[in-house]
Structure formats: C-alpha cells, structure tokens
Amino acid sequence: MSGWLGRRKWITILLFLAPTILAILVFNVYPILLNTYISFTNRNKFRPNPDCDVVLTGLLDPICWPAFRDNAPTGLGKPYVLQDPILGNYDTLMGKLFTPEALLSLVLIGVTFAPLIGANYLSKKQERKIDKKIPTNLVWGLGILIAVALFFILNVPKSISSLMATGDFITVVFRTALFVLIRVPFTFILGLILALILNSENLPGKTFFRVALFVPWGASSVAILMALVWQFLFRQQGTINQIFAVIGGTGPIWLNDPILAFGVVVIADIWFSYPFFMVSILGALQSIPKELYEAAEVDGAGFWTKLMKITLPLIRPAVLPAAVLTSITAFQMFGTAFAITGGGPTRGAGVPGATEFVMVYAYKQIFQQQNYGTATAFAVMIFIMLFLATLYSLRVTKMTKGAYE
C-alpha cells in the first residue's frame, strides 16, 4: 500500500502484529522450547520439580522465574535433572531401532515399497511420451504385483513385528500411519460417491439428502461427545449387537478385540470427516463445464471413462489440498479413539494398546503416567515428522502460492 513509508510504516506494522507475535511467542514458541528441554531430563511423577540453580531450568521453567515464585506450588518429590546419557528418553522410545536386526527389517520393508515407487516414476515418464505408450494400468498392476510378491518372499510381517519390538515410538507411529492409510482413502471414496450422486441433475429430494449428509460435520465440532455415542452403539449390548441378536447370531465384543476396535474407530472417524470431502468435491464438480461431458458422450465415452478422464483430473486441484490436510489431521486424531476405546484394548502392561494412536499415547503418557521426560521426547519427534509433512504438503499443494506477492 502506498500510504506511509519508512519508520511510520514499520511502527504501524509492528503495532498491528504485536498481539499476534506476543501470543505466538508465549503459547507456541515457548512451549516448544520448554518441551524440547524437558525431553532431555528425567522429569516424571517422582521428580516433578525444577532445580532452579541449574541455569537452563531456571531460565525455562516458569516456576523458577522470580516474579512467579509466589504462585508456584511446592510439591513433594525430588527435582528433575538432565538425563545421563542426554538422549536417554529418545533411547527408551526408539533406541533399539539402531540394532542390525531392526535396521534390516526397515530395509526389507523399504524394498517392498520400491516397485510402487518405480511404477509411479515409470507411469509419469510414460505420460510424457507421445507414442509407444505402455498403459499406465499395466505399469501399476505389475508394480503392485511385484510389491505383493516381495511382501511374502521377504516375510514383511516378521520384519514389522520385529520393528514393533524396538519401542513405543515405532509401534505407535506405525499404527497411526496404518490408520491414516485406511481412513483417508475410504473417506475420499465415500465423499466422492456421495458428491457424484448429489451432483446429478433432477434428483428429487436432493436438498434433504444434502442437509442430512452434512449433519456429521456439525457434530464433529463436539467430537468427543459424539464419539461416546459411537461407543454406545458398539458396546456389548449396543444397537449393532442387538441387530445381530435379532438375526440370530451373537455379535462380537467389539471393543475387546484389537482388530475390531480399530475398525470401530475407523468407522466412527470416517463419519466425522467424510462431509468435508463431500463438500469440497461437490464444489469442485460444479465448476466443471458441462460441455466437456457432452463432447465425451459424442465420442462414446461411458461413465467410467468420463470419471477417470474428466472428473478426477479436474477436481484434483481442489481435492488434493483437502486430502493432504485431512491426512495431517487424521494423524493427530485424538477424541475419537480416546472416547471410544481409551487407547485399548490393552495388550499387557507398559505396551501401547491396539488403538493407542499418536495423540492418545501422548495424552496417556503425560496425564495418566506423568512420564513427562519420555512424553516430551515423543512430542519432539512427532513435531519433526509433522513439520516435514507440512512443508512437503505446502510444496505439493502450492497452498501458500499467491500469499506472498
């Protein structure tokens, strides 16, 4: 803006940004600093207090700040000190990952995925060719076939279980990744199907269905209460099992079975998140010119061809950011799993339960076990992962493009 120049402009800018900067420093930057520091200490429920004579503790822990000492609770227990060795908490979480056996498992799993990456690369390269194309389906089919073959030849399940034995970090992250990999595609497909149907012309009752299908989105803002309702549905005496009883069978005890409990969390979380996809896709569909479909029909294209050649490529720019965003929030899903299973069913003391995803694990470590040291180390590693994922997603989706000019 051409208004002011020089010092006056800077003072205005600083004045208007000051509240934001202050809030970010106090509630975002400072927690990250304190978190990182505590991850190097042995703070837990037996050692909750700071030793203010240690320079860094005195600087970072608010209880040590002179102005606030009066408000500080004087708790029992010993002061926490730096871990010896300094990376002790990280070692507990994932130290065994660096043994030859675990590294070999990691490499084997990587090799299994190689054909898929290869197929992706090859099909992209094929697309750029003008003639002599190898069909993309063939490339992908072959890639998937080889990947599945490798999965069994290299005995990947064994590698996975040996990786799971290296500590909580891999177990929890792997399980959460599995959750995201199942939940996001299903959500997308459900959203796509519903959006395609709702977008069809002269469909009587369209408005009703549109409103009805939108309801879970509203409910998702009080997710924890609705998740409790979902838990009721899948209890031993819940609706689902009563239907089983009427049909003449006995329903399983859903929430006591690791795989079924996982499935219940996925179903409930899809319920919360599909309207977002549905609405994004619906918006994108409405911006596709009808002439494209008419032209395709003249050329004799069927439903499938139109879907693959027109619809999907054209909604991609709108849907990709939504998919990336959903993946990142699905990775951080907390309420659904916490309310439905509480992270369980347990598989023994000291081992994360079957639905103990990243945030549920962190919550339990912090607020139930009070293992602050381990929990903060976990937090730091999750932060690094999310940070990289976000940077990558910004590149892929070009979300910040246009924000700078």
Partner: protein, 281 residues
Amino acid sequence: MKRKSKPIIRVLQYVILVIATLYALYPVWFAILASGRLGDRLYTLDLGGMFFPTEWTFENYRVMLFEKPFLTWLTNSLKVASITTVASLIVCTSAAFALSRFKFRGREFFLVFLLAISTFPGLLSLVAIAQLLTALGLYGKHAGLILAYTAGTIVFCTWNLKGYFDTIPIELEESAMLDGCSPVSAFFLIALPLAKPALAVTAILGFMSGWGDFVFASVLVPAPDSVKLAVPALYSLANSMSVPWGYFASGAVIVIIPTIIVYLAMNRYFEGGLTLGGVKG
C-alpha cells in the same frame, strides 16, 4: 452426471443415499432417543426402541437443567467461547490487516513461520501452557483458558482473514486515502465492512473450537463444578458409574443439536470452499 439416468441407476443412487443417510443420522438420532428414556435404560431390550421413540420422558432434561449444574456449565462454555471469539477476531483482524495491506521484508517468512509453528500439536504443548498459567496464577480460571484458546485460533484465523482481505480491491481504500483518510481508518471504514462474510465464518469457527474442545478445558479448568465447561463436564458425567446415561444423553443433545444447526446454516459458506480458499490465499 448423465443427462437421463436409467431407472436402475436411479434406484442404485437412492439405495446408496438412503444407506449413507442412515449412517449419517443414526448416531444423532440414537442420542436423542436415549435422552428420552427413563433412568439408566440407555438400551431398551427390544430392537424397535433402538430406532423409534417407544417411550419418551422429559425427566432427564428436567434433572439436567434443574438439579445438576448443567446450566452453569453451559453458561461457562458460552462465556469462554464468546470471549475467545471476540479476542481472536480483534487480534487476527489487526494482524491480517498488516499482512495484507503492507508489503514489508519478512512478511512471507512470518506467514510461513505461523504455519510451521502451528504444526506443533496443541495437546503436546499443554504441559508447558498449564505450567505457565500456574505461574501466572491463572490455572483453573476461565481467563487462562481464554488466553490459551485465543492463541490456538490465531494461525488459522489470520491466514483465513488475510486471504479474504487480499481479494478486496485496494483501490477502494486508495481513493479514500486521496480524500485524506489514513491507511488504517481507510481499511477499517471501507475494507472491513466488505469482509463481513469472512469475519462471520471465522468467528463461528473460532467459537466452535472453544465450544467443542475437550482436552484443554479438562486439563486447564478441571474443577470445581462451578467453573467446568459443558463438554468435559458431560464427558466425565458419562464416565462416572453412578450417573444414569440418560442424563448424559440429554445434556449431549442440548449441546450437539444447536451446534449442528449452526453448521447447517453455514452450509453455503463452506460449499464455496471458503475455509480452504482462505488458506489457499
């Protein structure tokens, strides 16, 4: 997609829609049914009662509204969420104004820095925030919670508003400045009224983040009953063995139904992809 759908396709479409609608509505419907069932009978033993209101009583609502401190919880939630909304709108509007209307060194960096810093999950910074609030003497008080919520909404809200402000042509303000307006008053007198829809949506989303939150409220304001917020209070009500489920269900319905209605009313704003569109810039 097709101009004239074949009957079989139409039927298939309706089958899918009906199943999806059952999936979408049943959990909410179940909560409503359970809220009208007497005592601790969350489940009736005949299947019909799981789908239709075979019995109905307002007893649960009466107990929740007049015998439990539920109204206090609701008032607390409303108060905290409203103040959060106002505070976050003020902070974000001024930041978004500076970021949208001034070109300065470090602007890009600041915007991306906001995004990057917000990838640190709120739940994980809760220990530090709780400690900080304890030191400030704000732990267990609404003021502390409001501060934490406001800070939590800043990144999304600033990005969203900045994105919308960018779409308002600056020429309008420039012509006002020719008439002697300062850039600040030009912005507030001319651009801000034009940004009403974006402000409204940002406000409602900000409100909802405080209204529906569980973790922050349950950790930062754990007790006593007189300061609790509705959502965490209902959650602990559901988890205590001695309390009938019907109470929880009626409380949950009172919280959930208005929330759903507000979202339905905003439906058309979402459809334009405003939430994402803002972030897209």
